[in-house]
């Protein structure tokens, strides 16, 4: 009995304030926040500090780019922090020239060590494999993403602890370390370049490719996607593989920046990353969101935390603020969704 009897005249364009806000609110909020901090704390708006903020968020940012794919399909990945730790340790061990050499430090190990690209490959391979296993469990064993990745969170952390055998692996060859600590043109931190480079790539994939369309379609309405001939299972699996890729890449950059990998690395990353994506306007219900939004959301959280640190706000209060912001962002998303439904 639900009838939709509009007149047969051309449909008027709805002036969609909610939609406009959903799209630009994060950016407006970011600008306001930066202006506020700039007034309150002169050190904030210096190039040095701004690049610092960007460098601090670049690993979260890489993960958030991957997480955007997952959340666009209405999924979630809680395992990324653990996967980062595990992939980082494997990369570190490869860089040191294998498991047996992994705790050797000093000039003697230089000869045995491999180039940074092998370490990067190892980290990414671990990430891809971890992501694929979870995607497989979600699509073939039909376990909800929340449960699968909660399991992954525990399993990957366990693998990392086992692999590390108690100690951190540190002291890498200079090429590896440069990927985390170096600067291009003496100014721009390398992790920032990696983050923004992959963000642009991901934007192109989501916005301009067939695959990107399929991600939005599967997230927006999986049944309609299936009935339109899309391979919903393959697309769903693929987003976890992509997330795994970014977890591996993030692990590599994190190890390089710290010049060390340890089993407790990445703890709690999932919350910050999911917050960045959601604050950037990507809907937890799937089908709505952009990489641009995610980048803004990531920087927003980075700026917020940086500004609070500069203003000597306690780390505990920062956590409270992040928590509240996540809930508000999702509340807004739920509201925007109900508006879409009744439109």
């Amino acid at each position: 009995m639900t009838q939709n009897l509009h007149s047969d005249l051309p449909d008027p364009v709805k002036i969609d304030i909610i939609g406009f806000l959903a799209r630009f609110a994060p950016l407006i909020f970011l600008i306001v926040l930066m202006a506020g901090f700039a007034v309150g704390e002169p050190r904030f708006l210096t190039p040095l500090n701004l690049f610092n903020v960007l460098r601090q968020v670049s690993i979260y940012g890489l993960l958030a780019v991957g997480m955007t794919f997952v959340i666009l399909t209405a999924g979630i990945d809680l395992s990324i922090g653990s996967l980062v730790a595990f992939a980082g340790l494997v990369a570190a061990a490869v860089s040191k020239g294998g498991l047996s050499n992994r705790f050797t430090v000093g000039a003697g190990q230089e000869a045995a060590s491999h180039g940074w690209y092998l370490a990067a490959l190892a980290a990414v391979a671990v990430g891809l494999l971890g992501g694929f296993l979870q995607g497989f469990a979600i699509t073939r064993l039909k376990v909800p993403p929340f449960v699968v990745t909660l399991g992954g969170m525990s399993a990957f952390r366990g693998a990392a602890l086992l692999f590390a055998a108690g100690g951190p692996i540190s002291g890498f060859e200079p090429g590896f370390v440069w990927m985390g600590q170096g600067r291009i043109l003496g100014q721009v931190p390398v992790p920032v370049v990696i983050f923004l480079g992959f963000a642009v790539l991901a934007h192109i994939v989501l916005r301009y490719t067939r695959y990107g369309r399929q991600v939005y379609a599967v997230g927006g309405n999986p049944e309609a996607a299936r009935l339109s001939g899309l391979n919903v299972r393959a697309v769903t699996t693929s987003v976890y593989v992509i997330m795994g890729f970014f977890a591996g890449l993030g692990a590599f950059v994190l190890s390089a920046r710290l010049n060390s990998a340890e089993a407790v690395a990445g703890t709690g990353y999932e919350l910050t990353v999911i917050a960045s994506v959601v604050i950037g306007g990507t809907s937890l219900f799937g089908g709505v969101g952009t990489i641009f939004g995610t980048v803004v959301g990531t920087i927003l959280i980075g700026v917020l935390l940086n500004g609070l640190v500069l203003m000597n706000v306690s780390a505990y209060i920062q956590q409270i603020i992040i928590g509240i912001i996540i809930v508000l962002a999702v509340a807004f998303d739920t509201f925007a969704k109900s508006r879409r439904r009744t439109a």
Binding site: M1, T2, Q3, N4, L5, H6, S7, D8, L9, P10, D11, P12, V13, K14, D16, G19, Y208, T209, R210, Y211, R213, Y216, A217, G220, N221, E223, A224, A225, R226, L227, S228, G229, L230, N231, S283, G287, V288, R340, R341, A343
Partner: protein
């Protein structure tokens, strides 16, 4: 209930509808899909409020403010979709919200004993502590009835109670219903099955287009007479018959399509030996009541649901269809029944919705969407199907139902299918857009596509089809050329067991 009126946005669901039920009788409420039966029942049971009219119950004028209010007065409705909590016990379900016991505690012993007493009154042997999920559909229905009895009901409304039951289970239900009647309860039976009306009901009321069109004693009526009341209207002038296209070779034929088991009951017959064929340039109408297996047949052919047995033959070759992707590769398209749930991406633009099935044709360099080609595609169908929109970039949620449906149609046309299945192509769209959609279907057939059109509206089936196949309970019950058919003939083919025509 007298002169009940109910208006939904854009449609008058009930207009001067009425119903009179006597104490201790079984009363059939009849009408076509969309005649207003469900709405009337929802008003009676307090789930919806009427815009006009009055309800009298037990000689007093009453307002059924809410389902709870109606239950308190002794009116309980058993809907087609059960409202049981599947993971709880029978006893818990019977007494849900009214558990006996002191304060916040539940007296399980008492609850079980009372449940046993009620089920015994129904002549059932059910253990009160069984989990509802593990019961058969018929038994779950009995639990619903037990719950109704435990509320000391005086009037029980049953919405299509027999649609999910086997014939022995129907017999059992009828025995119980007769017992209840003997105990002085009144029962309203909503059904499509006229044989059952003749078998068990005392009186009947027929609704058509939201109005009361007739009522009387079953003993004085004939099935033919009731069918005429249900169908009623003269041939609808709005749906002018078209010129028939030249019909060509058989494109799709389906043989022996069978499937058992649905979400509720793994032994239910969903499809039984369904066979049909459709030719190039032909529109094959599929008529049947809700639950006859029409949609299930369409989804099986399209690969959306699995089937147990049967062959699908396209252009003379058997094909294996296990997914919609397979079906699309073989040139079959499906415009599904529920636009919003199954076809539309409400949060995406019209352009993106329209091209969703035909990305292959607008791809450049193997991976990128060629948006210039895509815009041209959208512009083409916007013009061809007269899709009214402000811009291809607007969200599809903002279009009217008719225009949304045209976008869904365009999605498949862009793919150039051999066979297009349209399931309830004009559901929920206004009359002007309906006629437009019909004309587009004629145009498709003329261009050589074989069209299978499923519709619950008989005038629509008659107007658009060249040939009509009727289904009931997962079986094909007859086939007729549409020029030989009228609504009464179709209705009897759809409701009776015997093969007609």
């Amino acid at each position: 209930m007298t002169q009940i009126g109910k208006r939904f946005p854009g449609v008058q669901a009930l207009d001067d509808a009425g119903l009179e039920v006597l104490p201790g009788e079984i009363h059939a409420l009849l009408g076509e899909n969309g005649a207003g039966k469900s709405t009337l029942i929802k008003i009676l049971s307090g789930a919806q409020q009427p815009d006009s009219g009055t309800i009298e119950f037990g000689g007093q004028r009453v307002t059924m403010a809410s389902p709870h209010d109606a239950q308190r007065r002794g009116v309980v409705t058993i809907y087609q979709e059960f409202t049981l909590a599947p993971n709880m016990t029978i006893a818990e379900n019977v007494f849900i919200g009214r558990e006996p016991g002191p304060g916040v505690f539940v007296d399980w012993r008492k609850m079980a004993a009372e449940t046993r007493a009620i089920t015994a009154r129904l002549g059932l042997q059910l253990r009160p502590m069984s989990i509802v999920r593990e019961l058969r559909v018929a038994e779950q229905q009995m639990v619903e009835i037990a719950r109704a009895l435990s509320m000391k009901s005086r009037l029980i409304v049953m919405d299509e109670p027999t649609s999910a039951l086997s014939s022995t289970e129907v017999e059992k239900l009828f025995r119980i219903v007769r017992d209840l009647k003997a105990q002085g309860l009144s029962i309203i039976f909503v059904t499509h099955r006229l044989e059952e009306v003749m078998q068990i009901c005392d009186r009947f009321t027929v609704l058509r287009d939201g109005r009361l069109v007739g009522s009387g004693a079953v003993a004085d009526a004939t099935i033919d007479g009731i069918i005429r009341l249900i169908v009623g209207r003269q041939v609808n002038a709005l749906f002018a018959r078209r010129e028939r296209a030249v019909v060509g070779d058989v494109v799709l034929s389906v043989e022996g399509l069978s499937r058992r088991g649905n979400a509720q009951d793994q032994n239910a017959t969903v499809l039984a030996d369904v066979g049909l064929e459709v030719r190039r340039g032909e529109i094959l109408g599929i008529a049947g009541l809700v639950g006859a297996g029409r949609t299930e047949m369409a989804r099986a052919v399209f690969g959306a649901d699995p089937f147990d047995a049967g062959r699908i033959i396209i252009d003379g070759h058997e094909v294996h269809i296990r997914s919609p992707q397979d079906a699309i590769r073989h040139g079959i398209g499906l415009v599904p029944e529920d636009r919003k749930q199954q076809a539309l991406f409400l949060a995406l633009a019209v352009r993106i919705n329209l091209s969703m099935a035909s990305h292959k044709q607008i791809t450049s360099w193997g991976i990128f969407i060629d948006e210039t080609a895509e815009r041209a595609m959208v512009a083409e169908y916007r013009k061809k199907l007269n899709i009214r929109m402000a811009s291809p970039e607007q969200l599809i949620a903002g279009l009217s139902g008719g225009n949304q449906q045209k976008v869904t149609l365009a999605r498949w046309l862009a793919l150039g299918p051999k066979v297009l299945i349209v399931d309830e192509p004009t559901r929920g769209i206004d009359i002007g857009a309906k006629v437009e959609v019909h004309n587009h279907l004629f145009e498709l057939a003329r261009s050589g596509i074989a069209v299978i059109a499923i519709s619950s509206e008989l005038p629509e089936v008659l107007a658009i089809s060249d040939r009509i196949v009727t289904m009931r309970e997962g079986r094909v019950t007859g086939e007729i050329k549409s020029e030989d058919a009228n609504e009464e003939i179709l209705m009897s083919m759809m409701t009776l067991n015997a093969k007609a025509a």
